[in-house]
C-alpha cells in the first residue's frame, strides 16, 4: 500500500484531469478542433484509468500477470471495436 499522501495526490490529479476534459468542451475548443482535442480528451481518460488501476487497485504492487489479465480484456475490446467500426467504413 502506498501512503495516504500518494493517494491524495492522485486524487488531486484525477480531479484536475477531469476538469480539463470538461473545459475543453465548455470553452468551445473541442468544437473548433475536434479531432486533436478528442484525442487529448481520450488520452486523459486513459491516464486517469491507469492511475486508478495502478495505485488505487495497486496493480503496480501485484505480479505482472494481473496486469496482463486486464490488458487481455482491453485488447479484446479494441479488436472488437476497431474491427467492427472499420468493417463498415
Amino acid at each position: 500500500m502506498a501512503s495516504i499522501k500518494t493517494y491524495t495526490t492522485i486524487f488531486g490529479v484525477l480531479m484536475a484531469f477531469s476538469t480539463v476534459q470538461f473545459v475543453f468542451e465548455f470553452s468551445g475548443l473541442l468544437e473548433d478542433n475536434y479531432g486533436p482535442i478528442m484525442a487529448v480528451i481520450l488520452v486523459l481518460s486513459v491516464l486517469k484509468a491507469m492511475a486508478v488501476a495502478g495505485w488505487y487497485m495497486h496493480i503496480i504492487e501485484e505480479p505482472r500477470s494481473i496486469t496482463y489479465i486486464a490488458l487481455a480484456g482491453v485488447l479484446g475490446v479494441i479488436a472488437l471495436t476497431v474491427g467492427a467500426t472499420y468493417s463498415i467504413s
Binding site: I4, V52, P63, I69, A72, G76, S87
Partner: protein
C-alpha cells in the same frame, strides 16, 4: 451463528438432499454429466423431428413455425446446454484430480454455476409452453430477435424466455470460468509446473480463458437484446447497421465459442491417444503452444461468418487470411496425434476407437471449413447444407471425443469396468450412423439451410440422412444400457485399469475418496508422492517457499482444526430464484419491469439487518437497517402509486409481475444468506502457484471477473462507437433531440472519483485496525454513491420526462440510457454490498492486515466501476 457445524457435512449419496446441497466437485461433475446427457436426449429428439420433416420436400409432420422452433431450439440446446456442460462435467470431476487440488477454489460458486445452469434448462423448457419458443435460428440474427418486428407474434414471450435462459447460462459459464482459472493457477500440487499439467487440464484452462472473454461479449449482446424486449431500445431494429451490429457481437463471441466446445475434446484426444498408444504425445510442447495460439487467434477471425453482409472487401480479405492462419496450428495438432499413434503400440479399446473416430470426423470438418473461409466459395456455400454439414462434422467430433472420455473415465468414476463388446458396438453404430447422417449433406449441399423444401431430385440422399440419424440416435441406447448395467456389475477395477497412464487421477482409488488424495500430493521430489497432511502444513512453513508468512502459519493451524465444508443450501436456492426471475421477466410488461427490483431493495436492507443480528449479535446498525427499510418501502409505494395508480397498478399487473417479485426477493434473501454463511475452504498450504503466487485466490477470482467485465462494458461502448460511426460521428448529437448533459456528467465524475478515494482510505484504516475511521470512510463512500445515483436520476428524469427523450426515441437515446444504465446498475450493486460491509465493520469485522482483504476486494470492484465511468464521461457527455 445459527447453523450447527455439522450441517456442512455431506449426507450419504443415496439421499436426495445430498445432491441438492453438495459442493463437492466430484458430485457436481456427475450432476453436470447427467444433466447434459438429459439435454442431449432432448435436443436429439428435436433433431429426429428435423430429419423426419426432411423425409420429403415440403415436410412431413411440422408446420412452418413448428419447424423453425425445432431447428432453433435444437441448435441452441446442443451448442450451449449440451456440449460445453458435458465437457465441464468431466472437467469438474477431473481437473482437481489431475492437478492435485482438494476441490475447486470456490466450491459454493461451483455449485451455484451448476444450479443456474440447471434452472436455465428449465426456463428454456418453460419457453416451449408460452405459446412458442424462440424461432429465429440459433444465431438469433437481428431483426428476427427483436420484438418490434412482429410484436403480435406468438413467439413474443417464449422467445424472450429462451433469450433469458441463455443469459442465465452465460452467467453460469462466467462464474465457472473464474472458478477454474483460480483453481488451476492457485492449487496445483507442489512441483507441478504449468506446462506439465495433463493435457485435458491444459485444454480446460485455455477453454475457460476463451470463455471468460467470449461469453462476456455475448452477455453484452444479450443485455442489449433484453433491453430491446423490456424497455424498447432500438439497437438491433435500427436500420442504420442494427443487424450488422448483432452479427459482430454474436460472432466475436461465436467463433471463440466453436473452439470453446472443441478444446476440451482436443485435450481428451491427447489423453486418450497417449494412454492407448502407450507413449507420451509426440511434440507435446508444440501441441500445447499450438493450442494457446489458436485460443488467441480465435478472437480475430470472427468476420468469416459475415462474408455475405455489407462489410467491406478489405476487411473480408483480412479475415480470410486470419482464418487460413488459424487452421495451421490445427494441422500441427492433428499431425501430433496421428504421429503418436503411428509410433505407439495401439490398444484398440472403446475410448481409443472414439478418439480415432473423432479425429477422422474432425479432419473432414476442418477441411470443409477451409473451403468456407475462402470468400468466393462462401458466396455460394453460405446458407446451404454445406455449412450445416461442416459444422456438424466439427462440433459432433467434439461430442464423439467426449463420449470417448466418458468411457475412458467411467471406471474411475464408478469403480466398475464397462462392457468392452457393447462399447465397441456402440462405436461402430455411432460412426456409421453419423456419417450416413452428415456425409450426404455435402452431396446435397445445394439444399438451403433451415428450410424444409428442396429439389426433389435430392430426396434419396435426404432419406439416407434420416436413416443415418435413426441409427446414430439408437446407438446411444447401447451406451446407456452398457453403462447402467456395468455400474451394478461386479467388474471392479483397480486404481488404474489402463496399462499406460501418467496423470494423477489414476494414482487414487476408483472411485476416488471424498478428500481426493490419501495425503497432500506433491511432485517436488520428481515423482508423485502423497505427503502426510499434518506434516505438510508444517512443512510449507519450514521451507518457506510457498507464499507463507506469519499470518499463514496461524491459518494452517486453524485450518487443520477446522475441516473443509462441503454442503450448502444457498447455491440451489439462489439458482431457483433466478429461474423465477427469468420466468417473470419473460412476460412482464415494460412499464412494470423495474418495480420488482425496486421493491426488493427494502427487503434486502431489512433482511441484512435480521441476518446480521443473527450472525454477529444484535447491534444498533441492524436496528437502523430494519427501521430504514420501512420508509424506503413507503417511498417506493408512493412512487408506484404515482406511476401506475396503486390499486389499478396492482390489479392490472400480470402474474409475471408477481413471479418476478417472488424471484427477486428470494434472490436477495438467499444471496444474503450465502454472504453470512460460515463456510470453510482452506487455502492450499503446499501448492505450485506460478504466476500468481502472491495473489490470494479471492483476489485472483476478482481480477478474472474484472477481466470479463472489461469486455462486457467494452462491448457496450464498442456498440456505441459502431452505431455512432455508422450514423455519422459528427451528426450524432445534432440529430438527437436533446443536448449532452455535460454538467451533471462532470459532477458525477467528481463524486465517483471521490468515492474511489474514500474507499482506499477505508482500506488504509482497516489495516491499521482503526474501526471508527474505517466505518467513517465506508459510509462516506456509500453516501458518495448515493449522491451519484441521485444526480443520475435527476439527469435521467430531466431528459426522459421533461424532454420526452425516451429509450426508443432514437439510437442516441438507446445507447445513452442503456450504457449509463448498466453502469448505474453496477453502482447500485456496489452500494448493496457496501451496506453488508458497513454492518460487518460495525460489529468488528475486517480489522487488520489479513481481515481487511474483503474491503480490498470490494475496492477492486468499486475502482473498476469508477474506471468505466472515466470512459463513459467523455464518450457520452463530452464528445
Amino acid at each position: 451463528m445459527t447453523e450447527s457445524a455439522d450441517s456442512h457435512h455431506l449426507p450419504p449419496k443415496s439421499t436426495v438432499k445430498r445432491w441438492l446441497v453438495t459442493t463437492d466437485h466430484k458430485d457436481i461433475g456427475v450432476l453436470y454429466i447427467l444433466t447434459s446427457i438429459f439435454t442431449l436426449v432432448l435436443a436429439g429428439t428435436l433433431a429426429l423431428l428435423i430429419r423426419a420433416q426432411m423425409w420429403t420436400s415440403g415436410g412431413l409432420i411440422l408446420n412452418g413455425l413448428g419447424y423453425n422452433q425445432v431447428v432453433s431450439a435444437h441448435g441452441l440446446l446442443m451448442v450451449f446446454w449440451f456440449l460445453s456442460p458435458f465437457a465441464f462435467g468431466l472437467a469438474n470431476y477431473f481437473v482437481p484430480l489431475q492437478i492435485g487440488a482438494d476441490d475447486l477454489a470456490f466450491p459454493r460458486l461451483n455449485a451455484l454455476s451448476y444450479w443456474v445452469y440447471l434452472f436455465s434448462i428449465v426456463l428454456f423448457g418453460v419457453s416451449f409452453f408460452q405459446g412458442a419458443t424462440f424461432s429465429g435460428g440459433w444465431t438469433m440474427y437481428a431483426p428476427l430477435n427483436v420484438p418490434t418486428v412482429d410484436a403480435s407474434s406468438v413467439t413474443q414471450i417464449g422467445g424472450f424466455a429462451a433469450i433469458l435462459a441463455l443469459t442465465m447460462f452465460v452467467t453460469s459459464v462466467t462464474l465457472g470460468s473464474v472458478n477454474f482459472l483460480t483453481t488451476i493457477y492457485r492449487q496445483r500440487a507442489k512441483g507441478l509446473r504449468m506446462r506439465d499439467i495433463p493435457l485435458f487440464s491444459i485444454s480446460i484452462l485455455l477453454t475457460v480463458w476463451m470463455m471468460l472473454f467470449a461469453f462476456a461479449a455475448l452477455l453484452a449482446a444479450l443485455v442489449i437484446l433484453s433491453a430491446e424486449h423490456l424497455i424498447g431500445t432500438v439497437y438491433f431494429a435500427s436500420d442504420s447497421g442494427g443487424s450488422v451490429l448483432w452479427t459482430h457481437l454474436w460472432w466475436f463471441f461465436g467463433h471463440p465459442e466453436v473452439y470453446i466446445v472443441f478444446f476440451p475434446a482436443l485435450g481428451l484426444l491427447g489423453e486418450i491417444v497417449q494412454t492407448f498408444s502407450g507413449r507420451r504425445l509426440v511434440g507435446r510442447k508444440w501441441f500445447v503452444i499450438a493450442l494457446a495460439l489458436v485460443a488467441i487467434q480465435s478472437f480475430i477471425v470472427w468476420m468469416h461468418h459475415m462474408f455475405l453482409t455489407t462489410i467491406n472487401l478489405p476487411i473480408k480479405t483480412v479475415f480470410m487470411v486470419t482464418t487460413i492462419g488459424i487452421s495451421l496450428p490445427f494441422d500441427l495438432m492433428v499431425f501430433a496425434l496421428i504421429y503418436t499413434m503411428v509410433k505407439g503400440r495401439i490398444r484398440w479399446k472403446t475410448p481409443f476407437l472414439f478418439a480415432l473416430g473423432a479425429l477422422v470426423i474432425f479432419i473432414i470438418g476442418g477441411i470443409t471449413g477451409v473451403f468456407l473461409g475462402a470468400i468466393l466459395l462462401d458466396y455460394s456455400f453460405r446458407g446451404t447444407y454445406w455449412v450445416t454439414a461442416h459444422f456438424h462434422y466439427a462440433m459432433a467430433s467434439a461430442a464423439v471425443a467426449i463420449i470417448g472420455g466418458i468411457y475412458y473415465w467411467f471406471p474411475k468414476i464408478t469403480g466398475k469396468m464397462y462392457n468392452e463388446f457393447l462399447g465397441k458396438a456402440h462405436f461402430v453404430a455411432a460412426f456409421v450412423g453419423f456419417n450416413m447422417l452428415y456425409f450426404p449433406m455435402f452431396v446435397v449441399w445445394e439444399t438451403p439451410r433451415r428450410v424444409f423444401v428442396y429439389d426433389t431430385g435430392l430426396t434419396l440422399w435426404h432419406r439416407v440422412a434420416t436413416l443415418g440419424a435413426a441409427i446414430f440416435a439408437a446407438s446411444f441406447l447401447l451406451m446407456f444400457y452398457n453403462l447402467v448395467k456395468s455400474m451394478y456389475s461386479d467388474r471392479d477395477v483397480t486404481d488404474s485399469p489402463w496399462a499406460y497412464t501418467g496423470s494423477m487421477e489414476w494414482a487414487v482409488s476408483s472411485p476416488p475418496p471424498e478428500e481426493n488424495f490419501p495425503g497432500t500430493p506433491s511432485y517436488a521430489s520428481g515423482s508423485l508422492e502423497f505427503l502426510d497432511r499434518s506434516a505438510t502444513d508444517g512443512g510449507a512453513v519450514a521451507d518457506g517457499d510457498a507464499a507463507t508468512d506469519g499470518g499463514a502459519v496461524a491459518d494452517a493451524t486453524t485450518a487443520a482444526a477446522q475441516p473443509a465444508d462441503h454442503a450448502s443450501w444457498w447455491p440451489f436456492l439462489i439458482g431457483f430464484s433466478t429461474l423465477l426471475t427469468g420466468i417473470g421477466l419473460s412476460g412482464i410488461s415494460g412499464p412494470y419491469f423495474v418495480w420488482p427490483f425496486l421493491f426488493t431493495l427494502p427487503v434486502f436492507i431489512a433482511y441484512l439487518g435480521i441476518k446480521g443480528a443473527q450472525h454477529d449479535g444484535f447491534a444498533l446498525i441492524h436496528g437502523a437497517y430494519l427501521t430504514a427499510s420501512f420508509p424506503l418501502l413507503a417511498l417506493l409505494l408512493v412512487l408506484f402509486d404515482a406511476d401506475h395508480g396503486f390499486m389499478t397498478g396492482l390489479g392490472e399487473a400480470s402474474n409475471y409481475f408477481y413471479i418476478t417479485i417472488v424471484g427477486t426477493v428470494l434472490g436477495a434473501m438467499t444471496l444474503i444468506g450465502m454472504g453470512y454463511e460460515s463456510f470453510n475452504v482452506p487455502e492450499p498450504k503446499l501448492a505450485e502457484q506460478w504466476p500468481f503466487g502472491e495473489v490470494e485466490s479471492t483476489k485472483l477470482g476478482m481480477w478474472t471477473f474484472i477481466g470479463s467485465d472489461i469486455i462486457l462494458f467494452g462491448a457496450l461502448i464498442g456498440s456505441y462507437v459502431f452505431a455512432r460511426f455508422n450514423f455519422g460521428w459528427h451528426e450524432w448529437w445534432e440529430a438527437a433531440e436533446v443536448h449532452k448533459a455535460t454538467w451533471p456528467g462532470l459532477a458525477n465524475t467528481y463524486i465517483l472519483l471521490a468515492s474511489s478515494f474514500t474507499i482506499v482510505l477505508a482500506l488504509v484504516y482497516a489495516k491499521r485496525q482503526d474501526k471508527r475511521k474505517t466505518l467513517g470512510f465506508l459510509s462516506l463512500t456509500f453516501v458518495g454513491a448515493s449522491v451519484f445515483m441521485l444526480n443520475k436520476s435527476i439527469e435521467w428524469i430531466e431528459l426522459f420526462w421533461h424532454e420526452g427523450w425516451t429509450f426508443n426515441t432514437d439510437l442516441m437515446a438507446s445507447t445513452y440510457y442503456l450504457t449509463t444504465g448498466m453502469h448505474a446498475a453496477h453502482v447500485l450493486v456496489g452500494m448493496l454490498i457496501m451496506l453488508f460491509l458497513i454492518a460487518r465493520t460495525y460489529t468488528g469485522a475486517y480489522m487488520g492486515e489479513e481481515e481487511s482483504q474483503t474491503i480490498e476486494y470490494f475496492g477492486l470492484y468499486w475502482h473498476f466501476v469508477d474506471i468505466v465511468w472515466l470512459f463513459l464521461f467523455p464518450v457520452f457527455y463530452i464528445l
